[in-house]
Amino acid sequence: MKRTTRNRLVAYSFLLPNFIGFLVFTLIPVIAALGLSFMKWDSYSPMRFVGLRNFQTMLKDSSFKIAFWNTLYFTGLTVPLTIVVALILALALNKGLRSVKVFRAIHFFPHVASTIAVAVVWQFLYHPDMGPINQLLRLVGVSDPPRWTASVTWAMPAVIIMSVWKSAGYYMVMFLAGLQGIPGHLYEVATIDGATAWQKFRYVTLPLLTPTLFFVLTMNLIYSFKVFDQIYIMTEGGPGRATMVLVYYIYLQAFVNQNFGYASAMAAVFFLLILGVTIFQFRLQERWVTYLD
């Protein structure tokens, strides 16, 4: 056996355990789901091949359309808001002081808490009459505060606000890591050149933070598309279908209505959507992400 072949085999044998896990628990189910999307199946009766019918159904299904747009709505607002909040927090807490560490921990805390528990608490905070949020709003003179999760207009913003609160701390830590990676001498040079604080941020911090920003943007987009827990607990997709998002609708079709074929077809479309957005992002990154040599 040639030496290189043997080396390669040794390397593969190290990869094998992990790959088997991936194969059994991820790859095969994903391929099976893709196959299922051309079937009609209620998990018990024999599967029936229906060709593209599940995909045609999607085009006619008003709930699917609503869920699709709601997912874009949620993502379109959650991602930029989370990034802005996380960045502001990171900039404010990027100091070596002891007290700052306490604040970092406080802001990271929502990420550690279970989404389910947090969503239950927020559901109470949003209570139209007795919830602390509306009591506060009334106190400062808002006579007719939003009815939050009970209102078709405000249910989605309510979920978005809660989601931003929940994940901003996590991305703050990412940004902090990115900020610490920027060499200090660049700021010294900028100071000597007479740059203002804003100029330092705009021309030193921001460009060198773009790799982190890219990572945060990609992860956050994927996580936002996948939103489920908050919806499941806080609104159940309601009132009506106001917060019906794709993953929740897929869940309903699969596990409540036993419509596994249709649910798989929607999951396939959903997968393509995320894949498309991610590829688009990677293409775009060459234009705006700066890597320090």
Binding site: S43, Y44, S151, V152
Partner: protein, 418 residues
Amino acid sequence: MRKYGLGLFAAVLLIAFVAAPVVQAQVTLKFACWDYELNQYDKTLIEEFERRNPDIKVEVYDMPASEYPDKMLIMLAGGEDVDVFYAKDPTMYGGLVLRQQIRPLDDLIARDSVDLSGYGGNLENVRIDGKIYGLPYRADFWILFYNKDLFDRFGVPYPTNDMTWPEFRETAKLLTSGEGAEKTYGTYIHTWASTYFVYGLQKHMGDLVEGPYEMLRDGLELAWQIQMVDKSAADYATNKAMGAHYRGLFEQGNIGMLYMGTWYMQALLHDAAQGLHNVRWGIVRLPQWEGLPHATIGNVTPVVINAKTKHLEEAWRLVKFLSGPEGASVLAENVIVPGYVDESVFETFAGVEGFPTDNMEALLTETVYMEWPAHPLSGLLGQMVEEEIVLAMTGNKSIDDAIADMEARREEIILLNQ
């Protein structure tokens, strides 16, 4: 010590030899139900069955009530050999029949000439395309519970069996007063969709799969008036956000009337025995619409046999036991309305400590409509009807629009699921 050890060994051997033939002859049946340990009455039944049938051992799969239909479905899909189980409601039952997962029992009923008269009208609700796939084990229906202390405090006469919904609304107003901890509400309307459509089904206009949704209008108007105009009940959004539960609220003693299923009788007695409340409660028939014959809404729980069972004879014996007079008497002792009803059931109820005996007629039913019929689209339509009811009851949509949209969305669902 060694001597004793040897003796013990001999004794064990002896027992093993003696017991062996019995053990070998025993058939193990697998039985699934919900809240077995929590509720105890199924446990009483199964233990009694095992005592009377020493050749059968029953292995129980115990699941939480809320997860039962889903888990059962997954177990059956996975080929789990459960022999006997409950179909929790007509929707689950209909699905099982549709997928041919359970076995028609007509041949066995005929062979053993089982007396079906005790099931009364419940039998019609387990008959699908002329065949009986399960025998009714429980048969709950909606009645009105009321708090006698509260009625006495406000000097309002107790409700009667012929109360109408407009009278219900007026009575609720009389019982509403106070603020904060002293606040009393005339009624509480629970956050299930069924709580909002029971009134509609009482219109005798058909079921929610095929009947016109126009039937829901008066009931939704009534609920809206009670919650938003009279404010004699907390509104839907408040209850939902608080995760309100009828059990705790009624037992706090500041709710005058509560329309709910007969399953609540058992819980009320149980909670009182635990010292959780001291509400003096009474029951009357579900209020009705003026000029229409009385009807209430119900839910039948049939006990069924897996089509793939390998122990049909033993399974059938368990089904007959659970759904027959023996099962009924154990359920009655626990104040649960069995599918098999004879006079002894009500006598047993009346004999239970704390049961209000002043109005046993409340439990007599003429017409019982199912919440959802055993129909393949019940699940999808149920989701849709609930969404529209919530929109109307949270003021996001007018009742007119909600009803019109229900009709339109039903068309869509039927079209998409042809």
